[in-house]
C-alpha cells in the first residue's frame, strides 16, 4: 500500500517511485561495488537485501564520499599534501560538499528515514540576511527584506502605470485590468495612487526605521525605500530570484549534526562489507566476472584483487578516466568526456554568534559579488551563547579555481577579509577556519561532473548503459548533477537494470 501510494504521489517529481523492489532470486550472484559514497552504499544495501553477495572497495578510510562533514579534531589532507587540522569547537562542523535536502528529493529523504538519520529544517531564504555588492551603496550591504520589497514594489508600480496608461490594452481585457491593478497594489505594497513610496505600506514589507513599540514609545517610523535607479544599477535584485528555484524552495532539510550523518548511517548498516583505504588501479571484466585490482591508498604495497560476477562502479569520472578499464568504446568515451567543476567551501569559527546577537540573522544566506560568493549562517543551535561556524565562502567558476590555487591558510584568510566587508565583527571575532577546494580533494578531483547539453546528447546514454558486467552510478550518471538525490536515483536505476540482466542471464 505504501509503495502504491508513494509511487503515485511522487510520479513526475524526482523519479523516486518508492522503495525499490528487486524481486526474483539472483541465485547467489555477487556484485563488486567501487566507491562507498551514497550511490555505492545504496547499491550495496539494496542488492544485499535482494540476495546478492556484495563487497565495496573505498579509497577513503570512512564511508560517505562527498557526503562529508568536518568536525573539530579532524585532519584533512588534500592533493599536494597540504594538511589542515580542524579546530572547531565540539558540535560545530563544516559540510564541504552537499548541505541541503530539498523536500522533493524523495530518495534522499527516504534513506534518511530508513536509516534513522534525524533531520531538521535548513533555512535558505532569510529576509534579514544581506545582499552585498562592492560596487553599490558604498559597499554597504542591504537586508534582503529591503531589496525584495523595493524591487517588487517598483515592478508593481511600473506595471500599474502601464496598465493605467492603457499600454496593456492589447494584452489585458478591461476586466482583467482592474484585477491586475488590485493585484499590483497588494503584491507590491502600493498606495492608493499605485505608488511604491515611503510609508506604512512599504515599511510593512521592507521593515521600519524604528519598529512599532508599546506604551508611550509606540509610534513607528517608516523607512525610506532605495531609489529605483540605485536599486536597478546595484544588481542586488539578482538575489530576489534565488529562493524561487525549485531546489531552494521551502522546506529544505539538513541532517542534525552534519550532512555526513547519512554516510555514517549507511556505513554502520554495511559494517564488514566495506574495504576502506583501497585505491583501485585496474578494472577487468571477462565473460565470467569482474576483477578490480587495488592497493593500500596510504602505503601502496602489493596489489590485491577483488572479484565478483558483476560490478557497480561509482568512482567519479575524473578519477575513473585514469584507471585502466576494459569497457567498450562508447562508455570509455563518455567517461573521458567529463571533467569536474571547481567549487570551494570555507568554514570559519567565530568566538560568538554575532550574526544572531547583533543582526538578528538566524540561518539563511547572504550574497556578495566578492569571490567568496556567499555567507551561510548555521540553521541550528540558535541563541547558543557558544561559538559558531559560518560558511564563509561557497563559490563556483573562476573564483573557485582561484581559491583552489591558494594554500588552505590563504583560503581562510581571504574569506575573512571578504566577510569583514559585510560583517565588520569578523575582525574581532574570527578564531579559525578550514577551506576545502574540490579540485584538491583526492578522491574526486573536482566537485561534480561538468555536463553540457552537447555532452549529454553525445555521451549520457553510453555512460549509463550496462557494459558487459559493469554499470556506472553516481551523480555523474544522473540528470541531477551535484545533488545527492542524483547519486541515489542513478544507483537505484543502475541496480534495477543490473538485476534484470542477472535474472535474464
Amino acid at each position: 500500500m505504501y509503495h502504491a501510494m508513494t509511487a503515485m504521489a511522487f510520479a513526475g517529481e524526482s523519479g523516486f517511485s518508492g522503495p525499490i523492489q528487486l524481486s526474483g532470486d539472483p541465485k547467489g550472484a555477487s556484485v563488486l561495488i567501487l566507491g562507498a559514497g551514497l550511490a555505492g552504499m545504496c547499491a550495496a544495501y539494496e542488492l544485499r537485501k535482494a540476495g546478492y553477495k556484495v563487497q565495496i572497495l573505498e579509497y577513503n578510510d570512512r564511508p560517505g564520499g562527498r557526503n562529508w562533514s568536518l568536525y573539530g579534531g579532524d585532519t584533512y589532507t588534500e592533493m599536494g599534501g597540504f594538511t589542515q587540522k580542524v579546530e572547531f569547537d565540539k558540535g560545530l562542523y563544516l559540510n564541504p560538499g552537499p548541505w541541503r535536502l530539498p523536500y522533493h528529493h524523495h530518495a534522499a529523504l527516504h534513506y534518511c528515514k530508513l536509516l534513522n538519520v534525524a533531520l531538521e529544517p535548513f533555512t535558505q531564504v532569510n529576509n534579514a540576511a544581506l545582499v552585498h555588492s562592492t560596487k553599490a551603496f558604498g559597499g554597504k550591504p542591504k537586508p534582503f527584506r529591503e531589496v525584495q520589497a523595493d524591487f517588487n514594489g517598483y515592478v508593481a508600480e511600473l506595471l500599474a502605470k502601464c496598465t493605467q496608461q492603457g499600454r496593456l490594452d492589447q494584452a489585458v481585457t478591461q476586466e482583467d485590468k482592474e484585477l491586475l491593478l488590485a493585484a499590483m497594489r497588494e503584491w507590491g505594497a502600493l498606495d492608493k495612487s499605485y505608488e511604491y513610496k515611503k510609508g506604512v505600506l512599504s515599511s510593512e514589507r521592507r521593515g521600519w526605521l524604528s519598529d512599532p513599540g508599546g506604551g508611550l514609545t509606540s509610534v513607528p517610523t517608516p523607512s525610506e525605500p532605495m531609489a529605483m535607479g540605485d536599486l536597478l544599477k546595484s544588481g542586488l535584485w539578482s538575489a530576489v530570484g534565488a529562493g524561487m528555484i525549485y531546489e531552494f524552495q521551502s522546506v529544505i532539510f539538513q541532517p542534525k549534526g552534519g550532512m555526513g550523518m547519512i554516510g555514517k548511517a549507511f556505513g554502520r548498516e554495511l559494517d564488514g562489507v566495506i574495504q576502506y583505504g583501497a585505491k583501485v588501479t585496474d578494472i577487468r571484466q571477462d565473460d565470467r566476472g569482474v576483477t578490480a585490482t587495488w592497493i593500500d591508498a596510504k602505503n601502496g604495497g602489493a596489489p590485491r584483487q577483488a572479484h565478483a560476477d558483476w560490478c557497480v562502479c561509482t568512482i567519479p569520472a575524473s578519477v575513473l578516466s585514469q584507471i585502466p578499464i576494459n569497457v567498450g568504446g562508447p562508455m570509455k568515451a563518455a567517461i573521458d568526456a567529463l571533467y569536474y567543476d571547481a567549487s570551494v567551501k570555507v568554514g570559519l569559527q567565530f568566538k560568538r554568534r554575532f550574526w544572531e546577537q547583533d543582526e538578528a540573522i538566524y540561518g539563511g544566506i547572504s550574497y556578495t559579488d566578492q569571490p567568496n560568493s556567499l555567507i551561510g549562517y548555521p540553521s541550528t543551535d540558535y541563541f547558543s551563547s557558544g561559538k559558531g561556524v559560518l560558511l564563509g565562502a561557497y563559490s563556483f567558476g573562476p573564483s573557485a579555481f582561484e581559491y583552489a590555487a591558494l594554500s588552505p591558510a590563504e583560503r581562510v584568510a581571504k574569506s575573512v577579509e571578504y566577510g569583514a566587508n559585510i560583517h565588520p565583527q569578523y575582525r574581532e571575532e574570527f578564531e579559525n577556519g578550514v577551506g576545502v577546494a574540490w579540485h584538491r580533494v583526492p578522491w574526486t578531483m573536482g566537485c561534480a561532473a561538468h555536463w553540457t547539453e552537447d555532452l549529454r546528447a553525445k555521451h549520457y546514454d553510453d555512460l549509463c548503459a550496462i557494459d558487459g558486467r559493469i554499470v556506472l552510478a553516481g551523480e555523474h550518471a544522473s540528470r541531477l548533477p551535484a545533488w545527492q538525490e542524483g547519486a541515489l536515483l542513478s544507483s537505484l536505476d543502475a541496480i534495477r537494470r543490473l538485476h534484470q540482466r542477472v535474472l535474464a542471464s
Binding site: 562592492t134 550574497y367 556567499l374 563556483f396 581559491y403 549529454r456
Partner: protein, 133 residues
C-alpha cells in the same frame, strides 16, 4: 583574486552549478573570465591549484600530471590544446581565457619549472587553434 563578475553572475553560478544538467546548455553557464593577465599570474591563479606551485603534479585516487621538465611540452600546440579543450579530468578553459592569456600561460609554463623551450606561441596561433578538439 579579484571580484570580477557581477553579483548576478555570482549567484547564477551557484545556481547553475548545483542545478545545471536538466536544462542547462554550455551557454547557460555564465562564462566567467579570469582577471589574471601575465603568464605567472595565470599559473599562480589557476594552474597551480591542480598541478601544484612547483608544477610537480599530485597524486590521490587519480593524479594531476607533473609539468616540470615535461617533454610533452616540446610541441607548443599540445599545451595550447589542453588549456583550450581540456582532456579527461583537465577542464576546458577556452571560454574563460583570451587568446593572449592562453599564450601567456603556455609560454610561462614552457620556460619555467625546468622547461626551456624557445619557441613561444602567439595569441594568433591560439586563435587559429580554437574550435579544434
Amino acid at each position: 583574486m579579484k571580484a570580477q563578475h557581477h553579483l548576478s553572475a555570482a549567484i547564477a553560478l551557484v545556481l547553475a552549478a548545483t542545478l545545471a544538467g536538466s536544462t542547462a546548455t554550455a551557454q547557460d553557464y555564465p562564462v566567467g573570465h579570469f582577471d589574471e593577465q601575465t603568464g605567472q599570474a595565470i599559473w599562480e591563479g589557476i594552474c597551480q591549484g591542480c598541478h601544484m606551485p612547483n608544477a610537480e603534479g599530485a597524486v590521490g585516487a587519480g593524479a594531476y600530471p607533473k609539468l616540470a621538465g615535461d617533454p610533452r611540452l616540446a610541441a607548443n600546440v599540445y599545451p595550447v590544446m589542453m588549456v583550450l579543450n581540456g582532456q579527461r579530468a583537465m577542464p576546458a578553459f577556452g571560454a574563460n581565457l583570451s587568446d593572449a592569456q592562453v599564450a601567456e600561460v603556455v609560454n610561462y609554463l614552457r620556460t619555467h619549472f625546468g622547461n626551456k623551450y624557445k619557441d613561444p606561441v602567439t595569441p594568433e596561433q591560439v586563435k587559429a587553434l580554437r574550435g579544434g578538439s
